[in-house]
Point group: C2
Chain length 407, copies 2
């Protein structure tokens, strides 16, 4: 069960975008496992993909298509990652793109494929192409919830977020987003797929800049187990169909409002992914402050957030500042002075001056660790740089899920 994850919010229509989700039988019969997003001509697209050297076939094809044309449709399946399948994987991904392009009458390069699920099993392209006519027939502006469910794998709940912004012209624009992901998650993306759309008319450079800005503060600041996947992708469509909603460049109040709202949507999705992290019983917001540089803050933060010893202590609701100090100590922060480091958990100071804080007691520590939502604050006492990371704990369920699930 996800830690404090709320229900899927209403996700209103985005003009110029239609969605469908159907059961194609990719892995299991009857499960809705195929999602389709169609967008009007003239829609702009920004996307970021996994940096894993072994990227899956759909990532290879989507990157290539995006460089050649602007998309008219995104096609995503769960149940099979189409990764580690060599040349046949690319052929299969292309087969599904060709079939969809023929149905909606667009160039094959205007279709971007996405897959998530088991690695190393051949994609049943025929089942997907068989299901496509039905999916196209079902396209509707109200399909966001269906898409959020169709892309789930080990997720226990669908994830979505939306924002409405008032521009200086008086126009309102919307941003919707859905995401999936619950493990293999860390910076440089995750086994994570996110699909976002806005009806704002954002110029290409501004759209790219806003997505990079938002992802760097959201999906690139979460970690479950330090692993990254072969399939990660975050794609943003801007249809430009809202009236008076032109965002001309990557500056100005309208751009900032759009960028910040987009970052909010991305952050809500990223936080939802961590709240639903595989086997998680705790949701941890980790603030590292007082670092000499942002890089140092992230070094210390990830060393703590990815330490199995810290994560098992969090699972045990054990305010084990010794393990936290030890993780900071090996993080490679140059010039670290043990005596300056301060650690607080949910407002209770547990360590200072390289030792247990004088005010600390086991009772206060246990009380601070009791909630499912944990705020862990580490001040390095060296400078003014600060970074925030979100992570989860490591318990029996993580082992069970990952020992039983073939990903």
């Amino acid at each position: 069960v996800a830690v404090g994850l709320g229900p899927l919010p209403d996700l209103p229509p985005i003009e110029g975008v239609k969605l469908a989700s159907v059961a194609a039988g990719v892995r299991a019969r009857g499960r809705v496992d195929l999602g389709l997003i169609a967008c009007d001509a003239g829609t702009r697209c920004a996307a970021v993909f996994t940096r894993n050297a072994f990227c899956a076939a759909p990532v290879v094809i989507a990157r290539r298509h995006l460089a050649a044309d602007t998309p008219r449709a995104l096609l995503v399946n769960s149940g099979n990652a189409n990764a580690g399948n060599g040349a046949e994987g690319e052929e299969d991904a292309l087969t599904t793109c060709h079939a969809l392009a023929a149905l909606i009458d667009c160039p094959v390069e205007a279709v971007l494929p996405y897959s998530t699920g088991v690695i190393g099993e051949r994609l049943p392209a025929d089942r997907i192409t068989d299901a496509l006519p039905g999916a196209v027939a079902e396209l509707s502006a109200d399909g966001w919830h269906g898409l959020a469910r169709a892309i789930m794998t080990t997720d226990t709940a669908p994830k979505g977020s939306t924002r409405t912004i008032l521009l200086s012209s008086g126009a309102t624009v919307r941003i919707n987003g859905v995401a999936k992901g619950s493990g293999m998650i860390r910076p440089d993306m995750a086994t994570m797929l996110a699909f976002l759309a806005t009806d704002a008319a954002v110029e290409q450079d501004a759209l790219d800049a806003a997505l990079r800005h938002g992802v760097s503060r959201s999906f690139n600041r979460i970690t479950v187990d330090g692993d990254t996947s072969t399939n990660d992708a975050c794609t943003l469509l801007a249809t430009g169909r809202a009236r008076g909603a032109r965002i001309a460049g990557d500056s100005g109040a309208d751009y900032e409002a759009f960028r910040d709202a987009l970052a909010d949507v991305l952050t809500e999705l990223a936080v939802a992914v961590i709240r639903d992290a595989e086997g998680a019983t705790k949701f941890i917001t980790l603030d590292v402050t007082g670092a000499a540089t942002a890089a140092d803050a992230l070094r210390a933060g990830y060393a703590v957030a990815e330490s199995p010893l810290v994560k098992t202590a969090l699972f045990a609701s054990d305010p084990n500042w010794g393990r936290i100090l030890a993780a900071i100590g090996r993080a490679g922060v140059s010039g670290l002075v043990a005596e300056r480091v301060v650690i607080e958990i949910n407002g209770v100071r547990i360590a200072s001056a390289g030792a247990r804080d004088p005010s600390y007691s086991e009772e206060r520590g246990r009380a601070a660790m009791a909630p499912a939502d944990i705020h862990l604050h580490i001040d390095l006492g060296m400078g003014a740089a600060a970074e925030r990371i979100w992570t989860s704990d490591l318990g029996y369920e993580y082992v069970r899920i990952n020992a039983e699930y073939r990903s």
Copy 2:
């Protein structure tokens, strides 16, 4: 229960070294938790310590003493790490050194302190000093097994190794070693203490070089969970009491024989630590070959060895080459070509050309994964560099031990 760890071998006396182990009640009554190694005047010493920025009080004191004098005694307790205790921690460590120095009539700088166990609880120095007269009275050349047991914490079995070498003079010399450690283990040392002694007369430079050489191939090539401790230390004494056993410099056949035998002892101890890794059910020898550089081989190796997803797959006896490929893909090996990577498990080729190997079948994969000893071979197909790493799997027991034990 340790994976394939044999019984403690006979550890014959090393001339010039006497040992004792007693129950001081550091943490629990009755448990033998205090070890003492006394050596003759003129003994040389080489040592390496944790690189964690938060090193424990005994590491601070041992480093300082070693720089000031040559040791006459090593004093080690389990049950309490004396880490994270600020200035009081150093005072307590010094108190025990002073007490022992008075008993055996040597400068306080000739005593090196070591501690392992719970972090952040004050060392009960009085219990240790109370137990010291009894320990000194018990000093004997036959105390190696007792020492191996006295230093255990979450270890399930004592760990020791010995070698005898024939030098060109016709003299035989011995090297004994004992170690403890079962978690928080990775390069740059581990929560690992190792004590070694030889009766060879090795010059200081040669002794230092041989220890660095051996540690780089043993304790710095093992990983359980990527965590390092505040207390790690590996100390080698050379008494020079064997006749005709002078090893003059760090070259020549005698030096090489000594260096290689020492590396063997260190490797046996390091492998024993991994076989006894917390909650381990598998022992994995990971060979990365075909790398462009040794650094690339280690990058790929540690990314795989420390991936929780790979480790849970190993626990499940699941030949999950997809997770292994994904870990290699994020390791930061520049110029990696997916099509050249080959993965074999216990001789069965499971992946090649970025995909499942054509010869692979689930049955062969399952059979290869069945034994407790797993040889994982990754060839990157890029060059001639190769490195070997040892690691363990990640299962329920790891979580249980680390969620229940306050380290």
